[in-house]
């Protein structure tokens, strides 16, 4: 057993209202710079939809992530041979137009336009070339377009459905969508790290945050291809790749990352998971159906005395182990089994887990008759608006049983709470639902509490980095005494 500590995350999709506050918080802190305007380390997508960059999930186009290769895994589009062969031109790299051309407006024109019969307008100008452009797409261009032909119907996950199922999904009465906020997953088996020829990317041992060393990045741009989530971005101005840093300076000082902190729907949870690094290769090469179950196995029980002993032997601080015991992520993921990884079939072992949206069925049309009747207050989960197969394509590598299991749990909690607060559901119905998935009232109440009422400190359990020393994780403080704290040590100009 080789115990390591990882900061992991849970996003509760039922609570996401799609307001993009997280994206803006991140943009203001990290990517509001030349060359980074187009980057959204945190972005919110509408599903079904094509996402950002367009069709990022389609690895036939972008060749990201790992492929199962017998008992091990190999990189799909990069790696020692493929990477060095394609170093002069990377055939699978997304370009600016796959994201969008960033723009601003000529606001000054509003003030300086000569007097005339028309209202002055502020025309959009490209932030790359400075020329006026016609804006054709943006980072959330598919916002709320759950039924649209251009976006929703181009969703890669629909490939798993039969044409009839697909059509049913887009019936007007059933049409639906949910939001999918995404950041870097700070994976256990990061494809970006493995793909970097210069070794500029690395995983921080202390907390598992995946970072790019800006001084070692040489713009071979393999990480952009390798990350199947397209969360490593190339800064066209500095000639360096950049990615989500999980606000590590904030984490080190005990604060939640900006996107977590600002989240209006309070959908985000963050905490420590202990995992066994010896198992990474074996688990990354599990068969598709077993991937979710196998990944759960890698995370260790922080209450197990043996785990605690091994963790301490590996130099993990007691304060971190205590944080792992209080981790909301551990509860959602391992104890309650409510959270699932996004696209586990990319085999990077992501550390961001999603509680899928419940999306109860509302109505269907039979023989031209609009039918809203249901036996109970809510439809059973077999009649969910989004087909189970679709959700399985997103969250369980196609294993529908996993999705059904999670949705049943979510539904049972909801029924239990309805029983407690309103009391219009029959006792038998509730206990049948609870019994089916072995849930007792106490646990259901705990789930409810952490889902709906949890305070900041319950949602974000950040292990102390011992603030007085945290900067020393990065530099020898004596060396930089008297230097400024922020900004570039060297101006980020291209060339000399």
């Amino acid at each position: 057993m080789n115990v390591r500590s990882q900061i992991a995350m849970v996003f509760h999709l039922d609570k996401c209202i799609g307001c993009h506050t997280c994206s803006i918080a991140c943009k203001n802190i990290w990517t509001d710079r030349k060359g980074a305007e187009y980057m959204w380390w945190n972005n919110v997508e509408t599903k079904p939809g094509t996402g950002y960059p367009t069709k990022w999930e389609n690895q036939e186009i972008y060749k990201g992530g790992w492929e199962k290769n017998g008992d091990t895994v190999s990189l799909k589009g990069t790696g020692k041979f493929k990477g060095l062969k394609n170093i002069f031109h990377n055939p699978y790299m997304p370009v600016l137009d796959d994201y969008y051309e960033p723009w601003t407006y000529k606001y000054q024109d509003l003030f300086t336009a000569p007097e005339g019969d028309d209202q002055p307008t502020a025309r959009p100008v490209s932030l790359v070339t400075g020329e006026t452009i016609e804006v054709k797409s943006g980072p959330n261009w598919d916002d709320d377009m759950g039924g649209s032909p251009d976006f929703a119907r181009q969703d890669v996950n629909l490939e798993k459905l039969s044409p009839a199922e697909r059509e049913a999904m887009f019936q007007l009465e059933r049409m639906t969508f949910h939001y999918l906020p995404r950041i870097c997953n700070h994976c256990l088996n990061p494809a970006c790290v493995a793909s970097c020829p210069s070794g500029a990317l690395y995983k921080r041992g202390e907390d598992g945050v995946v970072l790019i060393n800006q001084e070692r990045c040489r713009a071979w741009r393999m990480c952009v291809t390798a990350c199947p989530y397209k969360k490593s971005y190339y800064n066209w101005h500095t000639g360096k790749s950049e990615k989500c840093v999980l606000c590590y300076p904030r984490l080190e000082s005990g604060q939640a990352p900006a996107c977590f902190h600002s989240c209006v729907g309070r959908i985000r949870y963050l905490g420590v998971l202990l995992y066994d690094a010896d198992k990474i290769e074996r688990i990354a090469s599990a068969t598709d159906e077993n991937l979710v179950e196998a990944q759960l196995e890698i995370y260790l029980d922080p209450f197990d005395p043996e785990v605690i002993k091994q963790a301490a032997l590996n130099g993990i601080a007691m304060s971190t182990i205590e944080a792992a015991q209080k981790s909301p992520v551990y509860k959602f993921l391992k104890v309650w089994k409510l959270a699932l990884p996004l696209h586990p079939e990319f085999r990077t072992l992501p550390n961001l887990f999603y509680v899928p949206a419940l999306l109860p069925g509302m109505a269907n049309v039979q023989n031209g008759i609009y039918n809203t009747t249901s036996k109970s207050l809510w439809h059973g989960i077999d009649a969910t608006r989004l087909p189970i197969k679709y959700l399985a394509s997103l969250f369980s590598a196609g294993n529908t049983d996993k999705i059904v299991e999670v949705l049943k749990r979510l539904m049972a909690v909801r029924m239990h709470r309805r029983g407690e607060t309103v009391g219009d559901l029959s006792k038998e119905e509730i206990s049948a639902a609870m019994h089916e998935i072995n849930l007792n009232g106490k646990t259901a109440d705990e789930i409810f509490r952490l889902t709906s009422l949890a305070t900041f400190d319950e949602r974000f359990v950040i292990p102390p980095a011992h603030r007085e020393e945290s900067i020393e994780m990065l530099e020898n403080t004596a060396d930089v005494k008297g230097n400024t704290g922020f900004g570039f040590k060297e101006r980020p100009a291209r060339g000399l």
Binding site: F88, H89, L96, T129, R218, W236, T238, G315, M473
Partner: protein, 241 residues
């Protein structure tokens, strides 16, 4: 006098500038050592420029290196006319490939507004010297044929004499090929400007990727050995806060 300037002074100035400049840049301007890829702004025509250009240069570079390091082997290998012919034709083809690629890259920069936004003055210098270098090389190959034979017998001694600090320039200064002289001078100019241009990118070619392990985990605490406190855990020193 001019010969001494071009074939003795220039090489030494170039090599010294290259050495000092590159080391300085690597150590103190580390952030700026990058291939400065512009593929993100324009990907399609880059393929038709960058690939033929780099692969052409790649093979030519090793060709020159072999002739420099193992001249007698090369001459022996060229003993058969067929082999000589193959080498000559292949080298010429790689030269054409590099020239084609370079022209495609220049055209791309001239025609694509986005790429122009990331073009700096040194890029123009780079294109210029590369153009001279490749064209003069092709001219030598065409007008002074069978270079793979006489290079080893004639240029290698000169280059070696530079490296052993005993420059012998008689052969090179009396040769009656302007193209060859241009080729040598521009080669040393390229070496001289390496530290000031994007040329630095081939100095950091990531060969070590071949033998390093795929995953990299770095413990900041441990590496810097800053921490001595044992207060937070029993067992060994805290790797994790």
């Amino acid at each position: 006098m001019l010969n001494q300037l071009l074939f003795i002074a220039l090489p030494y100035v170039a090599l010294a500038t290259f050495l000092v400049g590159s080391i300085y840049r690597y150590l103190y301007k580390g952030f700026k050592v990058s291939s400065l890829s512009s593929q993100f702004l324009e990907g399609r025509t880059l393929f038709f420029g960058s690939q033929p250009f780099h692969w052409g240069l790649f093979f030519l570079f090793f060709g020159h290196l072999i002739a420099f390091l193992f001249p007698s082997t090369l001459i022996a290998w060229n003993g058969h006319t067929v082999r000589l012919l193959i080498i000559e034709c292949a080298s010429f083809a790689f030269g054409i490939s590099a020239l084609w690629g370079l022209l495609a890259l220049v055209t791309r920069r001239l025609t694509n507004k986005r790429v122009q936004m990331v073009t700096n003055k040194m890029d123009v210098v780079v294109y210029l010297v590369l153009f001279i270098q490749i064209v003069s090389g092709l001219c030598v190959a065409y007008f002074n044929r069978w270079g793979s034979n006489w290079f080893a017998a004639f240029l290698t001694p000169y280059l070696r004499s530079i490296f052993v600090f005993d420059p012998q320039i008689d052969a090179i200064s009396t040769v009656n090929s302007v193209w060859l002289k241009i080729h040598v001078v521009s080669a040393f100019s390229i070496i001289a400007i390496i530290p000031f241009t994007r040329f630095v990118h081939f100095l950091v070619y990531p060969v070590d990727y071949l033998w390093r392990s795929y995953q990299q985990v770095i413990w900041n605490w441990d590496r810097r050995s800053i921490r001595t406190s044992r207060a937070h855990s029993y067992g060994k020193k805290s790797l994790n806060n």
